[in-house]
């Protein structure tokens, strides 16, 4: 394996490990910015105002982070003069172009599939228990779809910068 290929694999692994690791850290930070002891009501009543506020904060942060990430990526492509080449998957811009399409799909999944169903699951929108259970299956699959898509996404983010294995 040549040096560029090793670099590509290291970057890919670095991104994935970073997201898994630091993602959990940020999840904790968003849910509990300031430490406070739980009381019994926090654990048994998912309609409590405090719990509902936490859910709004957590999901709002994640949804808008997806917009920031997508927008920053598109802005970078535009600034480098790569946007049209990426959209049309031209030559060496094909890897980052594929990454751009995956990222766009992931953001659409968050806003158009996950969020409308998650609002019912979490009780943010009124729904029957049966409907909330049904929606929980959809949100699980939607969430896992993005987890799965993040693997090639991170690969193409890494490959897009240097080509590595793909341009070799």
């Amino acid at each position: 394996m040549d040096s560029l290929s090793i670099d590509l694999l290291l970057r890919w692994g670095h991104f994935i490990a970073g997201v898994i690791w630091v993602g959990h850290n940020y999840s904790s930070v968003i849910q509990r910015p300031n430490w406070r002891a739980l009381n019994a009501a926090d654990l048994i009543d998912d309609q409590s105002p405090r719990f509902q506020a936490l859910l709004h904060r957590e999901h709002g942060t994640f949804r808008w982070a997806s917009v920031v990430a997508w927008s920053a990526g598109m802005l970078m492509l535009w600034r480098y003069g790569w946007l049209m080449g990426a959209i049309t998957l031209q030559g060496t811009l094909a890897p980052i172009g594929i990454g751009m399409y995956i990222g766009t799909l992931m953001m659409a999944n968050v806003w158009l599939v996950l969020w409308p169903h998650q609002q019912k699951v979490l009780g943010l929108k009124p729904a029957s228990i049966a409907e909330r259970v049904r929606c929980s299956r959809i949100t699980h699959l939607s969430s896992r779809t993005n987890t799965m898509l993040s693997i090639p996404l991170l690969f193409f983010m890494a490959a897009g910068a240097h080509g590595g294995l793909l341009a070799g």
Binding site: L89, R144, S150, I151
Partner: protein, 31 residues
Amino acid sequence: MRHPYDTAAGTILLGLLLTGALAALARLLIA
């Protein structure tokens, strides 16, 4: 029957398979 997404291993395996397929496509587009 369980969906591949119902396990972490299934989700990651699908992600790796998709990565391989798309990497092959990218190589074709670059060539």
